[in-house]
Structures are given as structure tokens and as C-alpha cells.
């Protein structure tokens, strides 16, 4: 099938409408108050919230459920980013990847419990070092965050195996502080935090004190039943991170797989403990390699300034193009406007996390998008000077400018590919926005502008 300019035109219109629908925010607030109008001596004020548009509407047929929002990077939103190093020296080399992944899962769960919206948790391996990057938008209390992420909530259960064996069964295992005053010969049982199915905070019915309710998995219930069976009348100690939090005497075997820790907590402490236990223990210990906390006001300020700069940049280009190329310039400006709409829609769909560098990359790509049009128009003018009629000059302008547009854009794509590969954080964002910009700019310069020109100057409607 050959695309005639008319069909292409309609495709462009459809793409534009879809992009606008995606670009629009979910709710638009219109608040306007006019100055006093003399005749009626009244102010007209409009204050309306349009909730209009649900992008799910036209995506429903494709079964895509997505909320389109701009993802903002930490530098625009404020927040904390922490790079952690996992200590793998006690982990078997074939297990390292797994350990890293499960550490990531644990952190992800903890961060989610912490109530962070849209956290980013990524793992990476650099020079044989295992790392986890955590980004938490909106979190400014780094102290608390680091504590929550990094704390190894290792829950262990201990029993006394008496005097029959003089040697410690596991000499390498660290003993919880103070356990020797309780037990003659303490032994760690095989029941750990990983046998937990769920933990909840409840309140003691008599004392109304907060307590953490443990529910074991099937396997854990069995282990727990075993332990309580062999220790009836004796003490079983529960330790959290080598700190004994409770040492109850077992009255009878507990079969149901439920236990309660009443450590004399405050409600907050009980909650935190529950979260830490629920999320599971970290399989490896972590240390902070780098961290970056950005205050929220700084972010908003940067965002507003960059957006304004972007709009100014756009206006400048439009004026410049119209001054240079007259009517062609106007068409190119319309193509540029569509380009902006397309790119923003793609940013929302992927979604691309927008950072300051990313916005700069985007604004720069507008400049590069214009370049394709300038190349074409300069060529077109040249062909016209050689005495070619306008419709032929248009076709020649496009076909002859194509090779330089292609080659120069491919080299830009190569650079953005390398930036993406080697960059971290903001540099990656920049590379991605630049690459998207370059690709879409080729489409807008070649397809959109050409279609407009063909429709206006095409056969039959010759001016």
C-alpha cells in the first residue's frame, strides 16, 4: 500500500490527537478571576476543575491499563538516592546473584512499607562488586531511610542444650548479647525469620500493650512445634539482631504456628519491627557507598525554571524559523509543535524519568529537530534557485537532504547509546531523552513536514 499524502495527513492527525490525550494531565484546574467589569459591576470568576480525561478510555480496546504520568527524577521532585554495596564475602560465588536479587526484593518491600511512592530499586554489578541503588522520591529523612533499608532484622530462636556437650555446637555463630546469663549452653535453632509467613501488630487484651504477632509458614510451624516440645518447662530466647528481645518460659508445646512477641514496645517500635520482619531479613549486609538528598523546594524551583526555559527556547525557534523561511518556517514550526507533543507522549508511555539533564537533552533535541528542517529547506531553496518548479524542488530538497540527515542522526544515536551504557542516573536520562528526540525528529522532519508541503504545494494545487 502506498501512503498518499492525504492518508499520511490523517495518520498524523490521529497520532496528534492521541498524543494530546496522553499529554493532558488528569485534572485541569481553571481558576480565573476577571477584574471588575464596569457595566455589570461584578467580577467574573471561573473556578472549575475538569476531570476529564481518562487516558484509559481509548486504550481499553487494547487492554492496556496505564496511568500516564510524568515520572520526575529526584532532582526535580526532591528525595534521596542511596547506593549500597553488598558484602558478599560469606556468600558462595554461585549464590551471589541470587543473594543480591533477594536483597533487592527485601529492600523493595521495606521501602514500600515505608510508604514511599514510586521508589526505584536497582541492582548492578560493577567490577565484581555487587550494588543496590535505591531512590526514594519525597523522602528527606535520610537517616530514617538508611536505617530502615540497612537494618538486618535477623530474627533467631535460641534454646539451652544444657551441659552434656562442653563445646559450643556452632562456635562461629555470634551469640546474642546477654544470652550466657540465661543459658548454660545456648544453641541457635533452625527456626529463623525466613520461616515467618506474616507478622501483624496487635494489642495485648489485658495490658493493652502493643505486641507483634507472628504467624509461621507450614514448615516454620513444624520447626516451632519441635522446639517448644523439647523445651517444655524451659526458656526459649527470641533474639533480634543479636539482641534478646524476649525469653519466655514454654508452658506447653505450641502446634498452631502462632507466637507473640511482647517486648515492651511502643506502638511505633512494634510497627517497625513488624515491617522489618515481614519484609524478611537481608541475606547480605550492606554498606553505604554514596548518597544524595535533595530538598523538595530545590526540585520544584528547578522544574519550573527548566520548563520556562523550554517554552522560551521553543518560541525563539519558531520566530527564528519564520523569519528565515517564511511560510515554510511556519509549517516547520507546526511540525515542531507536533514533535513536542509526540515526544512528551512517549515520555509518559515508556515512562521516562525526567531529570534536569533529561529536560536539557529534550530541549536540545528540539534544536536538532529543527536542523533536519533547515537542511531540507536550504536544499529546497537551492533547487528553486536552479529554476526547478516548487513541487519538484520540494521532492528534491527532501531526497537530497536525506543522506545527511540520516548519517548525522545515526552518529547522534551512537553517542546517546554510549552515554546510556556508561552513564549513571542523570546521564542515562539525558541519553534516553536525546535518543527518543533524535528518532522522533526524523519522523517529524521527514514525514510530517513533507506531508504538509505536499498537501499544500502538491499537484493540482500548485501555487
Amino acid at each position: 500500500m502506498k501512503f498518499t499524502p492525504r492518508i499520511l495527513f490523517w495518520i498524523i492527525i490521529v497520532l496528534t490527537v492521541m498524543s494530546i490525550l496522553i499529554d493532558l494531565p488528569k485534572t485541569i484546574n481553571i481558576a480565573y478571576e476577571s477584574p471588575k467589569i464596569p457595566l455589570i459591576n461584578k467580577k467574573i470568576s471561573i473556578n472549575k476543575e475538569i476531570t476529564g480525561f481518562n487516558s484509559g478510555f481509548f486504550l481499553k480496546p487494547f487492554n492496556i491499563k496505564k496511568d500516564f504520568i510524568f515520572r520526575r527524577g529526584l532532582d526535580l521532585e526532591g528525595g534521596t538516592s542511596i547506593t549500597l554495596k553488598a558484602d558478599m564475602k560469606d556468600v558462595a560465588s554461585d549464590q551471589k546473584k541470587n543473594a543480591l536479587e533477594s536483597a533487592k526484593d527485601v529492600i523493595e518491600r521495606r521501602v514500600n512499607f515505608f510508604g514511599v511512592s514510586e521508589p526505584v530499586v536497582q541492582t548492578s554489578t560493577v567490577n565484581g562488586e555487587y550494588r543496590i541503588l535505591v531512590e526514594m522520591p519525597g523522602v528527606s529523612d535520610v537517616d530514617q531511610a538508611v536505617k530502615l533499608i540497612g537494618t538486618t532484622a535477623q530474627l533467631t530462636f535460641w534454646e539451652d542444650i544444657g551441659t552434656q556437650s562442653a563445646k559450643l555446637s556452632s562456635p562461629s555463630a555470634q551469640l546474642p548479647i546477654g544470652i550466657t546469663s540465661l543459658f548454660e549452653n545456648p544453641k541457635k535453632t533452625d527456626l529463623t525469620g525466613s520461616d515467618l509467613q506474616q507478622t501483624t501488630v496487635s494489642f495485648d487484651q489485658k495490658t493493652a500493650k502493643p505486641q507483634v504477632q507472628l504467624t509461621f509458614s507450614d514448615n516454620g510451624s513444624k520447626k516451632f512445634a519441635e522446639i517448644t516440645k523439647r523445651n517444655v518447662g524451659k526458656i526459649v530466647a527470641i533474639a533480634l539482631d543479636n539482641q534478646i528481645i524476649e525469653a519466655p518460659r514454654v508452658n506447653e508445646p505450641i502446634i498452631g504456628g502462632n507466637a507473640v512477641i511482647t517486648g515492651g514496645f511502643t506502638t511505633e517500635q512494634a510497627k517497625a519491627l513488624s515491617i522489618q520482619l515481614n519484609a524478611g531479613a537481608l541475606p547480605v549486609s550492606l554498606s553505604v557507598l554514596s548518597q544524595h538528598a535533595i530538598g523538595p523546594t530545590l526540585g520544584i524551583d528547578s522544574l519550573q525554571k527548566s520548563l520556562f526555559a523550554g517554552i522560551m527556547g521553543f518560541v525563539i525557534i519558531v520566530v527564528f524559523m519564520i523569519v528565515l523561511y517564511g511560510r515554510f518556517g511556519l509549517l516547520a514550526s507546526i511540525a515542531l509543535l507536533l514533535y513536542t507533543l509526540f515526544v512528551l507522549a512517549i515520555f509518559k508511555i515508556i515512562p521516562v524519568t525526567l531529570t534536569l539533564a533529561g529536560i536539557a537533552g529534550f530541549i536540545l533535541s528540539i534544536g536538532m529537530a529543527v536542523d533536519a528542517n533547515i537542511l531540507i529547506f536550504e536544499r529546497l531553496k537551492e533547487e528553486q534557485r536552479l529554476g526547478r518548479p516548487i513541487d519538484i524542488a520540494i521532492e528534491l530538497g527532501f531526497s537530497r537532504a536525506w543522506s545527511s540527515i540520516r548519517d548525522s542522526n545515526i552518529s547522534s544515536l551512537i553517542t546517546s547509546g554510549i552515554l546510556y551504557k556508561f552513564g549513571t542516573g542523570s546521564v542515562k536520562g539525558f541519553a534516553l531523552t536525546l535518543a527518543i528526540g533524535v528518532l522522533v525528529s526524523m519522523f517529524s522532519a521527514i514525514v510530517v513536514t513533507r506531508t504538509f508541503l505536499r498537501l499544500i504545494y502538491g499537484k493540482g494545487i500548485r501555487v
Binding site: 548518597q291 525554571k305 547522534s412
Partner: protein
């Protein structure tokens, strides 16, 4: 207009721009930020303009906490402090102490980069620039593989890279000077700017080269330097217009877009200007120079 005839003049102009930067690089090096060296950076933001006494108070508090300040700068209502690596606890403690002594300020930013990460950022930046140059030579050589005699595609690639190195030297050199006199630092955003300049410069060079390729076919038989000169003139309008649009956009970013991207944009401005210059006045004339050299050599040997 005869650009090729005056090619030595343009080469000398490039040298005049690059040399001071090179000298500065040798004398003072590049002012690297904690992104590369590792360390901590704290940004405090005040309600009123920062007084010199406040700076002194800050210095004393850091001293009491045994934290060595590498640099401390103020700009209107903000104070930027760079220290060796400190952790969150230390930071919190310093802030608490400061809050008792100075009123109405808050910490806008706290960044710590461990030395390992810093070293990696440096090596990644160097790797990225080298790899980018290498791949671009390959691509240009590939894209121009069918270029008619007397040119050869590898020459196109190498001349494009010479133009690239020119631009890198201009930007890095100027930033070495700026760093020495204005106390600015080079961070990972600067590397981004540098790579963008690379992309842009090749972009520009390819447009000129593309025209040379076309004219080599169209004007077959004409002397090589005439073809190159004509190609430069034919693409001059486009080169200048594109450069101007990009520069205008960058000026908009510089004027309206916040403090945090200021030096990033300045690096781009310098780089784009240099990229346009080098593609017109260095890359293409170099092709001619190379052609002349190889002809001379042939004459001597033959």
C-alpha cells in the same frame, strides 16, 4: 569566498584558542567535583543574604566536628560546602549544632560519593569519550565507503575525529581556565555535555562531508580543493542557521533555566560554537591538506 585557500589561517586561529586551555590544563589541571574524586557536598539555604560571620560560624562548627572543609562558597542565599567523605550521622549532628547558632536555614542538599564510585565515574567518562570517538570513525568510514576518488572513506573518518578532538580540547581547556579563576567544578553533567558536543560536532561535519561526497560525483574532474570549497559554501547557510537555533535555545536555557544547569549549558554553548567552526574550517580543509600531502609524496616517490 575562498575558505580552502586560507586554511592555514583557520588552523592557526584554532591553535590560538586551544593553546591557553592546554597550558592551563598542564598547570592547573581540571577542577574535578566529588563525582570523580569522592567526598561530600552540603548545600545550605538561608532566608536572608549570607553574611561573612555566618560563614565563619559554619567553619568553626565543622572544625569542632573534625570535618575538614575543602571548599566553601556562597552565592546570595546559598552556601556550598565540600568536604572529605562524611556520613549521614555526622551531617545530622553538624546541622543540629548549626541550627543552635544560626537561625533560619535549612539543608537543601547533601551528597556523599565514596571514592570507589568516584573512580568509576572517572574511568567510565574516559571510556565513553574514547569509545564514542572510535565508533564514530567507524561509522563515518562506513557511511562514506563508496566515496569516489581521490578521497578515501577512512580519511573522512579521521578528519571528523580531528575536528572532534579539537572541540574536546576547546571545551576542556576553557573549563580548566574557568575552573581556576571562577572556582567551578567539573561534574558528571559536564561529561554529558562533552559527549553531546561530540555528537553535535560529528553531525555538523557529516553534513559538510555529505555535500563533498555528492559534489565529487557531480563535479567529477574539478580539482579536489574547488569541490571542497564549493561544498563548504553550499552548506554554510545551513550550518550557520542550525548553529544559531541551537545556540539561541541554549541561551534561553542559560538565562531562564536555573543555577544547577548553568555550567552544563555553558559547556554546550562553547562546544556547539566550536563544533560548527571545526566542521567548516578544520575538518573539510584537513581533507584538502591530506590530499595535497599524499600527492606530494607520490610525486617525490614517483
Amino acid at each position: 569566498m575562498d575558505i580552502i585557500g586560507k586554511k592555514y589561517f583557520y588552523f592557526i586561529f584554532s591553535l590560538i584558542v586551544i593553546t591557553p586551555g592546554l597550558i592551563s590544563l598542564i598547570l592547573w589541571g581540571l577542577p574535578l567535583s566529588i563525582d570523580f574524586t569522592g567526598g561530600s557536598r552540603l548545600t545550605f539555604s538561608f532566608q536572608k543574604e549570607v553574611k561573612p560571620e555566618t560563614l565563619n560560624t559554619i567553619k568553626t562548627v565543622f572544625k569542632e566536628e573534625n570535618v575538614e572543609i575543602a571548599t566553601i562558597q556562597k552565592s546570595n542565599k546559598q552556601v556550598f560546602i565540600r568536604t572529605n567523605v562524611i556520613n549521614q550521622k555526622k551531617d545530622t549532628k553538624i546541622i543540629e549544632t548549626l541550627q543552635k547558632k544560626i537561625d533560619s536555614f535549612r539543608q537543601e542538599e547533601f551528597e556523599t560519593v565514596g571514592p570507589i564510585i568516584g573512580g568509576e565515574t572517572t574511568s567510565n567518562a574516559v571510556k565513553a569519550v574514547i569509545l564514542a570517538c572510535f565508533l564514530i570513525v567507524l561509522y563515518v568510514a562506513f557511511a562514506f565507503r563508496k566515496v569516489p576518488k581521490p578521497a578515501s572513506s577512512i580519511r573522512f573518518g579521521i578528519c571528523a575525529i580531528v575536528a572532534l578532538i579539537h572541540d574536546i580540547l576547546v571545551v576542556v581547556g576553557i573549563f580548566s581556565i574557568l575552573g581556576h579563576f571562577f572556582k567551578i567544578e567539573i561534574d558528571s553533567l559536564f561529561v554529558t555535555a562533552l559527549l553531546t558536543v561530540l555528537g553535535f560536532s560529528v553531525h555538523d561535519t557529516i553534513v559538510v562531508f555529505d555535500r563533498i561526497r555528492e559534489n565529487l560525483r557531480r563535479m567529477a574532474g574539478s580539482p579536489f580543493d574547488t569541490i571542497v570549497n564549493d561544498s563548504i559554501l553550499q552548506t554554510l547557510g545551513r550550518s550557520l542557521n542550525t548553529s544559531l537555533t541551537v545556540l539561541l535555545v541554549l541561551f534561553a536555557l542559560l538565562l531562564f533555566g536555573g543555577e544547577s544547569t548553568k555550567w552544563f549549558v555553558i559547556a554546550l554553548l562553547i562546544g556547539v560554537a566550536s563544533g560548527t567552526y571545526s566542521s567548516i574550517f578544520n575538518a573539510a580543509p584537513l581533507l584538502v591538506l591530506w590530499d595535497e600531502w599524499s600527492k606530494k609524496k607520490n610525486k617525490l616517490s614517483g
